[in-house]
Amino acid sequence: MTLQGWFLILAFTGILLALAKPVGLWLHALYEGRRTPLHVVLGPVERGFYRVAGIDPAAEQGWRRYALHMLLFNVVLMAFTYAVLRLQGVLPGNPQGLPGLSPHLAFNTAISFTTNTNWQSYAGESTMSNLSQMLGLTIHNFLSAATGIALAFALFRGFARREARAIGNFWADVTRVTLYLLLPICVAYTLFLIASGVPQTLAGVVDVRTLEGARQSILLGPIASQEAIKMLGTNGGGFFNANSAHPFENPTALTNMVEMLSIFVIGFGLTWCFGKAVGNTRQGWAILAAMTILFLAGTTVTYWAEASGNPVLHQIGVAGGNMEGKEVRFGIAASALFSVVTTAASCGAVNAMHDSFTALGGMIPLFNIQLGEVVVGGVGAGIYGFLLFAILAVFVAGLMVGRTPEYVGKKIEAREVKLAVLAIAVLPLLILGLTALASVLEPGLAGPLAKGPHGFSEVLYAFTSAVGNNGSAFAGLSANTPFYNGLLGIAMWGGRFFIIVPMLAIAGSLAAKKHTPESAGSFPTTGGLWVGLLVGIILILGGLTFLPSLALGPIADHLGMIRGQLF
């Protein structure tokens, strides 16, 4: 580990902490539906959309209707992308002349991008035409992110409103977030990326005669516009197979820093926005403190493990940290940091190959996703996931002191706790259940590249990533088979919507409740004790649930690695 590496990590965290409030203020304006300076330009677009679609943005929806409209929109979007991918061969914008995708790959990819997972069973450069990248995939990068933020707004309203039936209008939330937050940032972001060396063209392959006289083909395309929203919307689906490790997606250390910041920035802002929405910004800061502690702890472990390197290679005569699967322009610190950021959030973009990380270095990304990606988390999904844990934490605190738990002015009763447990139980049920299935069935066993415990890690990581809607991979796994495409598709769908529906039910149930003023007997949810309790609950729940699976995979792998055992 180097001083410069720590400077990078602390600078990264410091910049985000400074951005939390300004971004939160902007989000809060959208949450309340207030006018922003951008309305001058984009207001007519917003109103035009509502008019054509027959939407009354002021018509508030109860949680059931909010959920129905959200689900139906996502189903239609998914069908649209499925069609674009299947018809790729006959559609324009295909300079490489690529054929349409197989049914199981199109199914998997359509679900993957709809659920903000962006798991990629395919290699972008040899599978997706320019039109598919733009029309099939880029729109999901915007709309799955906007859906996540809209859902977070709905839950915020559940906490903030008193004796109310409605939790907002889904269409208004999605449209405002897309037009006034995601799109304008992406326009500026895309220009920055192009200026830094990310291509943006409709051309395809360029033929190169290298200095040594060999032939090389270099693929260009509309890369920058997709890269921007891929990071900002915590999507993670790369234009290229190598994702943000590819020099055309992430050409410099500076673009790398900006890409990492853009993964977290909305998530940080949403914690502040939550505090503001419930009338006490310290509530937001407390959440952010718990997230930051977990994030820095994970970063420390992965950075240490990667900087320590691989003892197997040290034996052979190699110096220093682990560079397998990493790019020189980033180095070990920026690669380790990126891996923790991308899995703490449900982004899943990678600038280094997690599969080739040291055993413990790769365990942290895996564990981050297993914790439910609530350490900052995906845009929207992170904070609503975290609030489910907060409900459990006040419940536990309530059990300890023997009072009905309260959180931000709402009594948390049996219904909310049951629904929160239902949502959180989806993670272990799907992750461990499907991993077990793939570990005993023939087509599942055919997947891993690695032998020994690391092979199990590859399978475990795949289902963890899919259920967590992350999308990163231990990419040695050969996942483009009907077995994995199908099962991972189900995992992604379940991991997204089986959590969202109970979460919205909680929002509806909370909105209907009276406000309970804070009293001397209330458990304070702003101080250090609360932050410690949150961190403890998340670690204990995640640890108890997933430690056995980690012991079979990365921990066994680590013990082998330090003894020099090869597979």
Binding site: T175, T252, N322, G325, A359
Partner: protein
């Protein structure tokens, strides 16, 4: 619920079409237009051309250098090596026998060239993209004696060239772009050193 369902269907379908037009076509096409106008070189891949106008590479993308007279790039898992249509890492596990075998072979190759001591990790590890354009300064320096020998150049001159070409960044590690370094190498004026000739090239 039936009536709710049909009333939700229209906005779902219409908004899909509208957003597809705005985000799937309008946004990327507008950005392409603006990018092409403002940064034509960058937007088209930062291509490098020779005097005859032929494309010899991109500033951003690594290409294979395997002969002794050039600084060689890292091992690559992109296709058969530096395949621009098949970016990929090796995805080998830290405990994979295939990884240990590959690294051992690469270490042996460097030893045969006369490199002593522990080798810089990046020189014998495959990058994440398989298209890494850079080397660490240490990996370039480790190759300098060989390049000096093959080209008949003073070692000090190559060391100076590497130092001059090393790019530092606050947010990443120091690195040397191999294509730029090798082009600078080709541009160096030739000085004949006594007693060194082509016959002394290490055979590969």
């Amino acid at each position: 619920m039936g009536k709710d369902f049909t009333s939700a269907l229209r906005p779902a379908i219409v908004m899909t079409i509208l957003f597809a037009a705005l985000l799937g076509l309008g946004y990327p096409l507008a950005m392409t237009g603006i990018g092409q106008a403002l940064f034509p070189d960058r937007a088209n891949g930062s291509l490098i051309r020779d005097a005859g106008g032929r494309v010899i590479g991109s500033e951003m993308v690594g290409q294979a250098f395997t002969t002794g007279r050039y600084f060689q790039t890292r091992p690559s898992a992109a296709g058969k090596g530096y395949d621009g249509l098949a970016s990929s890492g090796s995805n080998l596990a830290p405990t994979a026998r295939a990884l240990a075998d590959r690294v051992r072979a690469d270490v042996a190759k460097r030893r045969a060239e006369g490199v002593t001591g522990a080798l810089p990790a990046d020189l014998v590890s495959a990058s994440g993209s398989g298209l890494d354009p850079d080397l660490s300064p240490a990996s370039a320096l480790a190759q300098a004696p060989r390049v000096a020998r093959v080209r008949g150049l003073p070692l000090a001159q190559l060391r100076a060239l590497i130092a001059e070409r090393t790019e530092a960044s606050v947010f990443g590690d120091p690195h040397v772009n191999v294509l730029a370094l090798n082009r600078a190498l080709d541009a160096l004026p030739r000085v004949a050193l006594p007693g060194v000739g082509r016959a002394d090239l290490p055979s590969r």
